[in-house]
Symmetry: C2
Subunit: 369 residues, 2 copies
């Protein structure tokens, strides 16, 4: 005999995403929610140097700010680094009300979020994203994670922040390359949900948005709206949220084959979208490839050398965590703004898409050189 009880736990996470030039008053408001004189500040080492004023204005909100500098770069998303930060936190005897501020780009947010979610089963987490990519993508949605030899972001949690506060003026200190790589995800939002983004950007050189703050802010807001609309309806990436991975199955293969850090995530996503566009058309879509491809030069501003074969890329896809048990699943488009998920069992098709993508990159290099 088996006696049963049904248990239902409900959890609702509510948070503010604020974008603008004057983040401090909002950060102050958030800090007052936690009755703590201490706070942890996980800060990207470059941000600590280049944006010392921003960092100091935030740490000044606490009597006992505890600053930890995260070595810049993807290689910090390691178990060793995670463990070191966990030990660092615990050495300061925190209680569970001590907030964690993650100040930096995607690496800081992913790693810092994973630390915050696992120390004492979770400290309050506040994201202060300082790169365009982190503002429109990684800081929103509650994904945390580190890398594993088996693949990118294979270790992590779903953990919602208490607030995301994006200081747009921080973008002024980014290098051109860092700034532009954020457009990988921005173009993605255009492709999957808000084609107006593609149209607006089609008449622009992406780098000019840096000085056009009002346009940049409106584009950023559109992106955040797309992402939050999806994330609210699907917190744990069961289904709908998959469309946010448009281009990503391809991108992860590139990142894995080249080695982490050899290509930026934004650039990899951009190339992944070229591939996903080719696959979409193979499956019958009618989409204008120029809307994505015309930004090749901006996205690849630092040059690109992808000395990989289609065979290597196909093989790298076999361990992507978004695949299903039986075949590879891809987000593809019917047209811009109309994504769907397609399982592809025919590995020859994927091979063909990779070959066409590599050829396309060579053409674009010549065309926009």
């Amino acid at each position: 005999m088996l006696d049963k009880q049904q248990v239902r736990t409900q959890q609702s996470d509510e948070y503010i995403i604020a974008v603008g030039d004057e983040p401090l008053s909002e950060i102050q408001k958030i800090s007052s929610l936690y009755n703590s004189t201490k706070a942890f500040f996980f800060v990207d080492s470059n941000v600590l140097e280049l944006q010392s004023e921003l960092v100091e204005s935030i740490t000044a909100l606490y009597d006992e700010p505890i600053v930890y500098s995260i070595p810049a770069g993807e290689s910090s998303k390691s178990t060793q680094q995670w463990m070191e930060m966990v030990t660092f936190c615990l050495s300061h005897n925190p209680d569970r009300n001590v907030p964690v501020y993650a100040i930096g780009g995607g690496v800081t947010g992913d790693l810092g979020g994973f630390v915050a979610s696992t120390v004492m089963r979770g400290l309050p987490l506040i994201h202060i994203p300082t790169t365009l990519l982190a503002i429109v993508d990684s800081s929103i949605g509650g994904k945390t994670g580190i890398n594993h030899p088996a693949g990118k972001n294979l270790v992590g949690t779903f953990y919602q922040p208490k607030a995301v506060i994006a200081p747009l003026n921080a973008l002024l200190t980014l290098s051109d390359e860092e700034f532009l790589c954020g457009f990988g995800e921005i173009l993605k939002y255009g492709a999957i949900a808000d084609p107006d983004i593609l149209t607006i950007l089609s008449t622009r050189d992406l780098s000019e948005l840096r000085d056009n703050t009002s346009l940049l802010k409106s584009i950023v807001q559109r992106c955040i709206k797309v992402k939050t609309d999806i994330v609210i309806r699907d917190t744990k990436e069961s289904n709908l949220r998959m469309i946010l991975n448009y281009g990503h199955t391809f991108a992860h293969a590139i990142e894995k084959q080249l080695g982490y850090g050899k290509i930026s995530h934004g650039q990899a996503v951009y190339i992944g979208m070229i591939a996903a566009g080719i696959l979409s058309r193979e499956l019958g879509a009618t989409i204008k490839e120029e809307l994505i491809e015309q930004h090749f030069n901006s996205m690849m501003i630092s040059g690109i050398d992808i000395a990989i074969t289609p065979e290597q890329l196909v093989s790298a896809m076999q361990t992507d965590k978004k695949r299903s048990a039986t075949g590879l699943r891809f987000v593809v488009l019917k047209q811009y703004g109309r994504p769907y998920v397609e399982q592809v069992d025919d590995i020859e098709l994927i091979y063909k898409v990779w070959a066409a993508t590599l050829t396309k990159i060579k053409e674009l290099k010549l065309q926009y050189a």
Copy 2:
């Protein structure tokens, strides 16, 4: 200027807790929810040996069962062991539908749950608790965790299982000591919420419940009801859930001072409750200490030698993760069934309670020897 968007994510986790002699049909039902031919089975090494039939009947539900034996004992709750299991999982190329079955006691559930919650940001988790302690306590409520040099369970997540299925017949293979240590938490439920448990047990020798399955089952169900009622209302241990820590602040200090594994968690909680009872009376409670203390002999069946000073125990409390920033917080009783949380800033009082507890243990040893 700062533009704001409000985001609200909702997450509801629903699961079955089933207790009884014939768990297989329920496990089969759960397994059919996940479209997977593979499953991970994290099994305590003792269980793998002593309950091979149970384990084989469950693994037989899958075409590709992947079994991992967890070395029995608290020392397995380490970051090294966690990392090894994460790598083990990833080496089998799982997709996110591959369920994790944690079959064993508290160590297996805590560690296996932490692995399940962090591999690819979460695989479906099914607890099959095989010790009394795990059935009434650790398998319910979504806590996962491992130990850190700074303290017990300081690294972990909140992660709800998809089901908890408790095979009561598994208890027959436990040693007397393992079986009895489950009563630490059972007596706790009696003390904080369901004093009838204390009354029912007061006329019994605890070890006789092993053969009295119907009484055992009804006691177990009462405990599960207490715990789930609390956990449902407070998933993340913000407030109400703290009362489940009755005796635990004291218990953790003992475990930490003696070294993990030198005393069972149930025994530590039991002694912690003697201390919490003394503190409660110091603060004005009128509770019959015999209802707890009369089980001393059963709980300490293997003997006990606590060669620790009150000073050492007070100092070990300084890093307990349930303390607040300013002082130590304790769950204490007004009377049985009426717990409250009290912050104690007067360290002398805690010293006094520890001294009285150590004296009491000596008396009980003589009285029940």
